[in-house]
Symmetry: D2
Subunit: 421 residues, 4 copies
């Protein structure tokens, strides 16, 4: 059989769904009438009620009550800087791990880390890793680099103009920096690197963003830089775009892995053989043996870096602390290492793209602010510490899952916590 059987089966499954309805009709455009939602930027009790009226065809009063509950509706306007077309709030359960001892350049002390998830066993697993790490003296962390990027693109007639443009940018760099930085109190344009592909030039604009994650800040600053270029540059330009889809914003990319985006943090701990055995229920050798296989798997499947499940820790941490959950796509890459140190086990994560802020974004919403307060890291001065806590938390998760898989406990944990309750 030349066609793989699972593909044949899949096609048959798809066909079976349509035995009663002509496939052709289902996929065609339809010109039935519709009334679109009137967009609402500043939510009110009335606007929410009106939306729910629209949704009655599928959603019940009970559904409305679950999202537009009385506490949420006590002040719907509080969400207006974070969302449009507001209909209520979704509630994600938050668990904590800790104390997680962090010996860091920026984060220093014993932390309780809030994690928001609906995946059973996740918090328990990270808590186990935190316990092992803390018993071993805590996790050392250092912010190694910062630099949120925005990469506008400029299109010219040809290579010659592109080259002249780059020369002009070099000459004008100080004025351009000033234009960009005039839009922001906290943003600092630290480098501009041209990337030329014939008649197209990308400018990789790299910023530090104070305590904010800074995605909007760098957009606005770069826009000012571009407008200054557009106003003053004598080389004829066919078009410019605020983002040439080069920066890796909201997506995994090798650029991000290689040069970093957001904050780059390294975190490590050496677990004693005793802790590995008593707390994690396995042995250093078993973890190292599995580490070799896991590394092989990462190469053979074409991952960006090598790690087990940064995304679990990051998503839970980002949501609980008011960060942008979509940034998990770009943050969840990097390197986890486990190596023998005598009889003990050195474990580290290095994460080049952590996007967190202690101010801005969702950080001032009440429950998210509470999440930051649980950490003691709300408000100005805490951006770098937050990034270190994020990395340390991910390291806990790596330790725990590697131990679980090495010991053969992984499935059991998921069975017990997700199913048997």
């Amino acid at each position: 059989m030349t066609l793989p059987s699972h593909i044949v089966e899949m096609l048959a499954r798809i066909r079976r769904r349509f035995q009663n309805a002509p496939l052709q009709e289902r996929l065609l455009p339809s010109d039935a009438e519709f009334t679109t939602l009137r967009p609402v930027r500043n939510a009110s009790t009335a606007s929410v009620a009106k939306y729910w009226q629209r949704l009655r065809a599928t959603a019940s009063q009970e559904d409305q009550d679950a999202l537009a509950d009385p506490i949420t509706m006590a002040d719907p306007g509080q969400f207006s800087a974070n969302i449009e077309n507001f209909i209520g709030t979704v509630k994600l359960p938050v668990g904590i791990i800790g104390p997680l001892r962090i010996n860091g350049l920026n984060a220093h002390g014993d932390f309780h880390v809030p994690m928001a998830t609906t995946e059973a066993a996740l918090v328990a697993s990270y808590a186990r890793g935190a316990y092992a790490a803390t018993k071993s003296g805590g996790i050392s962390t250092a912010l190694l680099y910062e630099g949120v990027i925005r990469t506008p693109a400029f299109v010219f007639d040809g290579l010659l103009d592109a080259g002249l443009f780059v020369e002009w940018v070099v000459r004008e760099i100080d004025a351009l920096k000033a234009a960009a930085e005039a839009t922001t109190r906290f943003g600092n344009l630290v480098s501009v690197e041209p990337m030329i592909d014939n008649n197209v030039v990308f400018l990789v604009c790299r910023y530090t963003t104070g305590d904010a994650a800074g995605q909007n800040m760098v957009t606005i600053a770069t826009n000012a830089l571009c407008e200054d270029i557009a106003a003053r540059c004598p080389i004829a330009m066919n078009a410019w775009y605020i983002e040439g889809n080069f920066s890796g914003d909201k997506k995994a990319s090798f650029l991000g892995l290689v040069t970093g985006r957001g904050r780059k943090v390294s975190a490590s701990v050496t677990l004693s053989a005793d802790v590995v055995e008593k707390t994690l229920g396995t042995s250093v050798k078993a973890m190292l043996d599995y580490g070799q296989v896991a590394n092989l798997g990462s190469h053979l499947s074409g991952q960006l870096g090598a790690q087990a499940h940064f995304a679990n820790g990051l998503a839970a941490f980002y949501i609980a602390t008011g960060q942008d959950a979509a940034c998990v796509a770009e943050s969840a890459m990097g390197i986890t290492r486990m190596e023998a140190r005598g009889d003990d086990l050195f474990c580290s994560v290095t994460m080049p793209n952590i996007l967190v802020g202690s101010v801005g974004g969702g950080t001032s919403l009440p429950s998210q602010a509470a999440g930051l307060n649980v950490l003691g890291l709300k408000g100005a001065g805490n951006g770098a510490a937050l990034a270190e806590v994020a990395a340390a938390t991910c390291l806990c998760g790596e330790i725990s899952i590697v131990a679980a898989i090495a010991a053969g406990h992984f499935t059991r944990a998921h069975e017990n916590l997700a199913r048997k309750r």
Copy 2:
């Protein structure tokens, strides 16, 4: 200057933080005493209160009230199948877009899509895309493939034993399939493919998972398969692991891009020139011109596929409907295409790794269930339709962002919605 200036500056920034404290001490392990949390799997009013007592050092009563609000605390036990060490709920604002007309194999009709985010302008942008798509007759969608994978690894003394093992698996495949499927009512093992690296064999086990996202289902089924192998296989095995870090679970990988993981959906719409001009405020040509540059950017920065911001749509959709937000890391890749069709604009997304379920995971929590009800897609029979809605939603976001960048509106939208309120 041989060292790039931004690196020198970054190092100086780091050093400045520590002028008053000896760096050496901060990063060293500490043996200060600590008391760990007692893990709690079944949350109760008492357990939550006890935790907050622990958190008083950093968090106030107000913080506690924000997370452990009266509605949440009316029944803390309802979250016990989804989290451990529960301390309350974080509330994410939900907005809706729609009606979004979907002409799909599985999803068919006019949908209102709930999106949970704290990023201003996101819902408004997707709503604009939905309006343009619906005015153009709606988005055609088709589920093209399903197959959640788990990839256990088996380690042997050498290549010879690895080869004999694969032969044994071939002979025993029916029994192994039976062992796997005995653990699940809905999971179906559709293929097993060996991947050999000398003495290590990965078995790529691919399942359909009914209406569930299915990550636990495939873990448990594969564990049974592995235990059957371990019990009966005559070839001496040094170790086996339930996951060889090959499946791409919770991370972007080229394996996922090439062979798919989860549900693969394609969604498309042809926007009339008129809609592009009146609704999106730009022109087909401008969008195509930008598309060329954006495609170039995706190549030069080493992305997996080419797209603008799937992660925004996916994260907001996953959170609002009880999916696993960590899966954004693996789902947010694929292909966005925009091409001329006469005077009009063909737009499509093909997403190989959508992980959604209409049952299981967080889907039965009250506010998440309400999110699914808003769509009319809660419960059995709706998994495939959910995946199609996810892809259609992402297509709305791609249309809107490309139009905004092409027209030069992108920054203004973010300034207005995020800052000026």
Copy 3:
């Protein structure tokens, strides 16, 4: 300084080149007259002489003699099936390593491997690896998979037609296979897998190709398959292309790493501690320590798999044995592993994309045929063995370079062999 200094310096270098000539003029199209070469497919003494007359502006009689030497010119026609516009031959020096003991599924015995290169130290380094491997009992090898792919693409109006097309292919697969295989005695179409991106369908056609590398064979067979589709398929098709730039032909791709292309071979040897010390001048521990760093480097720089310098061994082997040197681009990826086995060192390479043939291509040219005869692997029946020798040779190179870098000898070897003579 916001612009990195090396970029500024680079721009200045470029500008300096043009202080005397106006840059603008140099890059502009020119309409000066020219006379193109008359293409020659069957070389003769006269055609070669005529070409050299054309080249006299830059090349001397001595140059002509170096390429069009008497031996070459004794029968210029012998190259006519391999080149057009023939002007002579370039001579690459060939060195040998060996005996290299290979204990393989297909290659079995003590081989002398010819390697063509102009890079000093390369042959010496591979010879050292071969000696260490042979002293340790030889290299075990196994061909694990074969399957050269060609991936035609078919374009339709929309997703619906694409789906109907795939269904039609499924129904007609036996006839299509027959059409493809009718063009070849040795090619066997082993699988066809559709890859759908909305209205575009790629068919991944995978062949075994007997003892040939098979790139032309699969092109011709797939062309017949496509023409059969074009003649008989009732679904309206906008276009089809023999290759959708998907197969990874002549380029590194993750598709090739994940699913293999060409022949996949694994090769391994366990070096005794004694051999590592006496032959390689280092220790097992030193090699393992370096292996950890080298693995990290491969991840952080975004390589496809992890290896040191497969390309050196492959290019030298391909050229010396009449293979296609351009295929080095796709073949030079895979995995090198080094692991402790007690006190000894397990070393393996797994290479998913070796493209070699013992017939066809350049294998019957006199000096290339001699290269194959040195191996004893010329002609029918030896394709699989050749692939195993290629992998074993690469393993020798990996062993030697890792030992050299671990021991700190790497630079010295290059200094001595390349410079000091």
Copy 4:
């Protein structure tokens, strides 16, 4: 059938090979006696004869004559700086294309480009592209960047020492640069960038290398830099390695794609509609339509950049001009673009990693020197021009293959030239 049929078939094929011989024995180490080659660095008539005596088991006198022909044997010592264990030369046929008009920053004029290959149709195809480009006024080229890298790695006890090390390097950078540059007349260390992964620091050392490809030059310079560090740096170091497998030397990597390695060149030409029709036998629209599909294929298969077959042009050019053919592995990546310009077709390639030299390596061997003389680019002052010719040649190949596939001629060309003679 759960196991894909082609895998089952492949396993059966492998098993069939061994029905008569016990598989177990074939793969086991063997302790049979062997005599290794005595390594020879300075070839002589005697040394070559002695080797051939060893090879008599498999190779005939005719084989010896084919490699160790009288012309080669007239002066075997001429190859001693390029190879060890010399047994003769392999002869690759060389064809020429041209005149290829290049309007470049460094290369300027009408060139005849020598290409060495055994793949039929390759030279004819590139010649066709060259003709189309020259008829359109020639190819504009610019060297955009240079920077061969070497990336030594340094291992410390922990993150703290790694940080202190980087600080020390920053302070000592001028002395380190001096140490590196003391080893070379032509090499210039233009930047050093640290890349930290916890306790491991890679230093990305980027050099310009004059007219040489420079791989040995940067190794020797970096070794001096490392030894200066090792001698003077006060931070305790566990190990250092001349190359951390990070530089992308001899392998495709995203680092190379993103930051460049070797010489980065962009080359472009706008083909008139008339030339596309009359010379290439297709239409601008057909080429653009195929370009969309080819771009999609490059994304879906996980290539590094997007191009058709750079490797063919590069391998043929590298071999004919004495470059290192193994570097094809790293050079064969980048971007090919084709876009409408009114009725005409803009075509460009941007190649970030061309590794060529007009001096050093194999460039002074007689037939390779002749290849450079055909171009008029032998010796000092021509390195940058060579890189531009390489890129322009690749652009010819891209134009020709895209036209051939778009027009449906691709297979026919291969059938005619490879088979029918």
